[in-house]
Amino acid sequence: MQEWMFGQPGSTPYSGTWLQHTLNSSYRVFGGFIIAAVIGVTLGCLIGWFRLVSDLLDPIIQMMRPIPITSWVPFAVIFFGIRDASAFFLIALGAFFPIVVNTAAGVAGTPKLLIRAARMLGIRRYMILPRVVIPSAMPFIFTGLRLGIGLAWVLVIVAEMLAVKSGLGFVMWDSYYFLRMDIIIGAMLSVGVLGFLSDLAIRLIGRWVLRWSHGL
C-alpha cells in the first residue's frame, strides 16, 4: 500500500500511481458535483417557486430518483464512451437528486410573512425570488449540497469501476483481480478522507453563507 501511494513509479505496475488516480477521481467528483449543483439549485428554485414547473417536472424527477444510477452506466458508456464525460454524467445525475429535492423544499417553505414584508417594503415582483426566497432557502440548499457531495464520492467509484479506466475506483477493481487487498483498503481510506474533506469544505462555506443562523 505504501509503495502504491508514495513509491517510485515504474518499479511495479501500481507503485507511485496513487496521486494520479486520486487527482483523477477528485477532478471527476468536482466536475460532476458542480454540474449537479448548478442544475439542481436552478431547477429546485423553479420547482419550489412556480406551481406550473413543479407540476411538470416534479413527477418526472420523483420517478427517476429511485432508478439506481448504476443502471445508467450502459447509456453513459454508449453516449459518452470510456472517458471522463461518462463519469461526469453519472456523478452529476446522482448528486442532482438530493440537491434539487432539498432546494425545492426550502424554496416552497419560504415563510409567507417574509414575502408579505418584502412586498410591503416595495420590492418588485421578480426580485422576490433572488432577494427573499433564495436566501431563506439557503439552509436547505446547503443540506442538499452536503448530501450531493457525499453521493458524488460514492458514484465516482461506481463510475470508475464500470465506465472509466483510471481513478481510485478503477484501482480498486483492478487490484481485486490481483488480490491486492492492501491497495483496495488504501483506496477505500483515501475515498473516506477525501469525502470528509470535501464535506468539510462545503460546511465551512455554508457556515460563512449562513453566519446569520449560527452555522449548519
Binding site: L113, R116, M120, S136, R211
Partner: protein, 278 residues
C-alpha cells in the same frame, strides 16, 4: 405655523387619508364547508396625523381589516382608499409592523432597514444617509451589524419599525406589534412609538386586544364586535399626552371601554364553546 397651538380634542379630522366604506370580508372555511363573515360592513375614516387604535376580541376581524388596508387581502365588497386612491396591493406607502417582526434573518440590522430603499432603487449614498438617521431614531446605534437572531424582541421590533419608517410611508399599520413583548419592554416601546409618531407626524393604525394600550396610544379607539366584526363604538380619547395610565381620567376611560368590550368577549367565548360542543 397656522396649526392652532392646542387643537380642541373634539375637532373632527378634516382630511381623512384612509377612507373605508361598506367593507365586508367573507372566508370559506374549507374544513367545515361554511361561509364565515369576518368583517360585516365597516365604515371608517382615518385622519391625517391621527393615531387610531382598533380594539376587539380575538377573531373579530381586526387583523383582516389591517390586511385589507395593507393590500395583503382583498375585500369581498366595499372600498378602501388612501388619499383617494383605491388600495389593491401592498406598497411602501403603507408600512406594516407585524407582531412576529418578520425581519429578514439573513440581513443585519442595517441591511434590514435598508431593504425597502434598496429594492425601490434609491441611490446608495442617499440610502446610507437615511439608514443612519433611522437607526439612531429607533435607538439601534451600535447594533448595525447584528443579525435579528441576536436581538431581543424589543430590539427586533425597533428594527421592524425602523425598516418601514425608512420608506417614509403615508401611514403606519401595526398589528399587535408589542403583544409578544414582556410588560416592561412593552411600556418602553409604547413610549418610543409615541415619540417617533409625534416627532415625525404620521398617520397610524394600531391593532391591539389590550384596553390600556388602545387608550394610551390612540386619538380614537375603535371598539369592534365579536364575529361577524363591525364597529361597535368609536371612543375619542380626549386626554392630553403624555397620558398617565394611573390617573382617574384614564381609569374612567378604561372602565368605559372595558364595559363596551365585555359583551363582545363573552360573545366570542360563547361561540368558541359552541364550536367545541358540536
Amino acid at each position: 405655523m397656522s396649526r392652532p397651538a392646542v387643537a380642541s380634542p373634539m375637532t373632527e379630522y378634516k382630511s381623512p387619508r384612509i377612507v373605508i366604506r361598506g367593507l365586508r370580508k367573507h372566508f370559506t372555511d374549507i374544513a367545515r364547508q361554511e361561509e364565515i363573515v369576518a368583517i360585516d360592513g365597516v365604515d371608517l375614516d382615518i385622519g391625517d396625523d391621527e393615531f387610531l387604535t382598533i380594539l376587539g376580541p380575538s377573531g373579530c376581524g381586526k387583523t383582516t381589516l389591517l390586511n385589507i388596508v395593507a393590500g395583503f387581502d382583498q375585500a369581498t365588497s366595499g372600498v378602501v382608499t388612501l388619499d383617494g386612491e383605491p388600495i389593491r396591493k401592498p406598497g411602501p406607502d403603507r408600512g406594516v409592523v407585524f407582531q412576529e417582526y418578520a425581519l429578514f434573518p439573513w440581513l443585519s440590522v442595517e441591511q434590514n432597514i435598508e431593504f425597502g430603499l434598496r429594492e425601490r432603487g434609491i441611490p446608495k449614498a442617499q440610502r446610507l444617509e437615511r439608514v443612519r438617521k433611522q437607526i439612531a431614531s429607533v435607538g439601534l446605534s451600535g447594533f448595525e451589524r447584528r443579525y435579528p437572531q441576536e436581538l431581543s424582541g424589543g430590539m427586533r421590533q425597533r428594527v421592524a419599525l425602523g425598516r418601514v419608517l425608512a420608506n417614509d410611508p403615508k401611514i403606519l399599520l401595526m398589528d399587535e406589534p408589542f403583544a409578544a413583548l414582556d410588560a416592561q419592554t412593552r411600556t418602553i416601546m409604547q413610549q418610543e412609538l409615541l415619540f417617533v409618531w409625534s416627532t415625525e407626524r404620521r398617520t397610524a393604525l394600531f391593532i391591539t386586544h389590550n384596553i390600556e394600550e388602545a387608550i394610551l396610544l390612540g386619538d380614537r379607539v375603535v371598539v369592534m364586535t365579536a364575529r361577524p366584526g363591525h364597529i361597535k363604538e368609536i371612543v375619542r380619547v380626549a386626554l392630553p399626552r403624555p397620558r398617565d395610565v394611573t390617573s382617574a381620567e384614564f381609569n374612567q376611560m378604561r372602565r368605559k371601554v372595558a364595559a363596551l368590550l365585555e359583551d363582545e368577549v363573552q360573545a366570542t367565548f360563547a361561540t368558541l364553546q359552541g364550536a367545541l360542543a358540536t
